[in-house]
């Protein structure tokens, strides 16, 4: 499924913060984790992650430091700060409101529409009939 650009951009911040809440990490590993979590459904242009990380650093949500990779290359690691944790909590609440609202309306539409329509992954079909 192709997820729209705006949605990817909007979900980037909470996703990166949440992954860093699991532990310190670096760009490539963060992207790998995103792939695992979404079963490869959520794909980013890899290069675009770094400006996002730098923005989070500017806001003070993450800290960066240079370390070494297993093979001895210089690698930049990111760590969630206290402020980042607070931001993550706030974003989590916001997303929950959005999620709950959407679930509510989708449940209603589903009940009203034909019984053959299946829930969740087939949402596109719902849109087509409404």
């Amino acid at each position: 499924m192709d997820i729209g650009k705006d949605l990817v951009a909007a979900s980037a911040t909470p996703l990166v913060l949440a992954i860093l809440a699991e532990g310190d990490s670096y760009g490539y590993a963060i992207l790998k984790r995103v792939g695992e979590l979404s079963d490869g459904e959520l794909t980013w242009t890899d290069g675009m992650l770094y400006p996002v990380l730098h923005r989070l650093e500017r806001f003070g949500y993450v800290e960066a430091r240079w370390g070494k990779s297993e093979t001895g290359r210089r690698r930049r690691y990111y760590r969630l700060t206290q402020e980042g944790r607070a931001q993550l909590e706030e974003q989590r609440q916001q997303w929950q409101v959005v999620d709950a609202t959407l679930r509510g309306i989708w449940k209603d539409t589903l009940e009203r529409s034909s019984e053959r329509l299946r829930p969740a992954p087939g949402l596109r079909a719902v849109w087509r009939t409404t």
């Binding site: 490539y28 890899d46 290069g47 400006p51 990779s69």
Partner: protein, 471 residues
């Protein structure tokens, strides 16, 4: 992790390309390179060959220009930092980027100073600028481009060499520099070996054409030996246009500065006009060329170019003026009066129109379908051609009555050179608008035509003085 040399070479090339984006700092390059290598390792472990893995990894990283724009959006201050040469952001980070920017600033300042000082060197031998009499006057008129263009070319050569490794090697080592040096030597020679007799028409021609001729040497330095590459030629066209605009802006600032300087010192009873007119203005005017080039290079590819914006603004206006001119001529039934400078005036008109076409072409996405602006461009070119046809008819009459002179032949030659370009442009525009040809053909026509201007300028510099008896 051991890697084959080919992979290392590919990564080095990729790194060089990424480094050229001013919004991406050295530490960002390093971070992205770590990502690229981790990705390549992951993919080779999954069974891909190294070169395949590299291609996939680069693809996943995304279009570097787009990534760079994201960096620019996030770090817009960096672009300005580069210009004002601020010390690097965080300690220990990004040393490579900052030190390179510093070295570049130092090189630029040294070269600009050298250009400014070079102008005053002939004064040691009695050739005083403005006050040295006719001998000094003609000396400076013939040579002024030689005081600054070599330094400008030097900066570009230095930059290509320091930033884009192997750029000259690809074309056979530093032999790429030979034509640049030869052009400057030739310029120096032909500007100074010919005698000058009254009424000095050929001298005026040399003075106006030598800068154009020597701009070729600057161009060769700019393209870094890849002068056959049409895209690089177009880059040089963009560079020239932006430099012209930056230079004009710097000149405006310089005028304000000098006006204040003179006035303030006048207020305390000191006359500094001699200092301003003999040192500040002429030396500043030359140094500003190198500084302007530096600014253009620094903001390259990040901020929207100015020349195409001006083109958009003035194409409709010039078209309107030309149409009004033709309309008035038809209404009042007057022909073009043949004054002395009329041909030069129409040459300049054609220069403006060619410039408008060139810079519209330089900024247009060749893939985009024909639009209203393209039709407007064609209209502009066609009206310019009609106006020029009237002017040429008038001039032909004058030449048949009064004979040839160096000025007339030069102006006529220029007219033909520009006319051919515009006829070709009109033809290709028409084909493109009717869906019979691609826009890329028009772009190729423009870049392929560039050498013609330089050949004509050199022809005037080299052949005209002897042809017209140095008069």
């Amino acid at each position: 992790m051991t890697s084959d040399p080919p992979l290392e070479t590919q990564i080095a090339l990729w790194r060089d390309y990424l480094r050229r984006h001013p919004a991406v700092r050295g530490s960002d390059v390093e971070e992205l390179e770590d990502h690229l290598r981790a990705q390549v390792e992951g993919l080779t472990e999954a069974g891909l060959a190294e070169d395949e893995a590299f291609l996939v990894a680069v693809k996943r990283l995304g279009n570097l220009d787009a990534v760079s724009r994201e960096f620019a959006r996030e770090h817009s201050e960096r672009l300005w930092k580069q210009l004002v040469v601020a010390p690097g952001g965080k300690a220990g980070e990004d040393e490579a980027g900052t030190s390179r920017a510093r070295t570049e600033a130092a090189v630029v300042i040294v070269l600009a100073t050298l250009a400014a000082v070079a102008l005053k060197v002939p004064e040691l031998f009695g050739f005083h600028l403005f006050t040295g009499g006719p001998a000094a006057e003609t000396f400076y008129a013939r040579n002024f481009a030689l005081f600054v263009f070599p330094f400008l070319a030097g900066y570009l050569v230095w930059k290509r060499e320091a930033w884009e490794s192997n750029v000259w090697e690809r074309d056979g080592g530093r032999r790429g520099l030979v034509p640049i040096v030869l052009l400057f030597v030739a310029g120096l020679l032909f500007a100074n070996v010919y005698p000058t007799l009254d009424p000095r028409h050929t001298l005026a021609l040399t003075a106006t054409h030598l800068p154009i001729a020597l701009w070729l040497a600057v161009g060769l330095a700019y393209v870094g030996g890849r002068w056959r590459d049409q895209a690089r030629r177009m880059d040089f066209v963009r560079f020239s246009g932006e430099l012209f605009i930056y230079y004009s802006l710097i000149a405006l600032g310089g005028i304000v500065l000098t006006a204040f300087t003179v006035q303030m010192f006048q207020a305390i009873g000191l006359d500094v006009e001699w200092l301003v007119s003999r040192w500040v203005l002429p030396c500043g005017a030359l140094g500003a060329v190198v500084i302007g080039a530096w600014l253009v290079e620094a903001k390259q590819s990040v901020i929207e170019n100015m020349a195409p914006v001006l083109t958009r603004l003035f194409t409709p206006l010039f078209t309107l003026v030309l149409l009004a001119f033709l309309g008035t001529m038809a209404w009042t039934r007057t022909g073009i009066g043949v004054e002395r400078d009329v041909l030069i005036g129409f040459d300049l008109l054609l220069v403006v129109v060619v410039g408008l076409v060139l810079y519209a072409v330089s900024a247009r996405d060749p893939e985009a379908p024909p639009g209203a602006f393209d039709a407007l461009q064609l209209l502009l070119v066609l009206t310019a051609l009609v106006v020029d046809a009237f002017a040429l008819a008038a001039i032909a009459a004058r030449i048949s009555a009064f004979g040839f002179s160096a000025n007339k032949v030069a102006a006529l030659g220029e007219n033909v050179v520009l006319l051919v370009n515009l006829v070709g442009s009109a033809w290709l525009y028409a084909r493109f608008l009717r869906g019979r040809g691609s826009f890329a053909a028009l772009e190729r026509w423009q870049t392929a035509y560039l050498p013609v201007y330089f050949i004509w300028a050199w022809w005037v510099v080299i052949a005209f003085p002897p042809l017209f008896g140095f008069r």
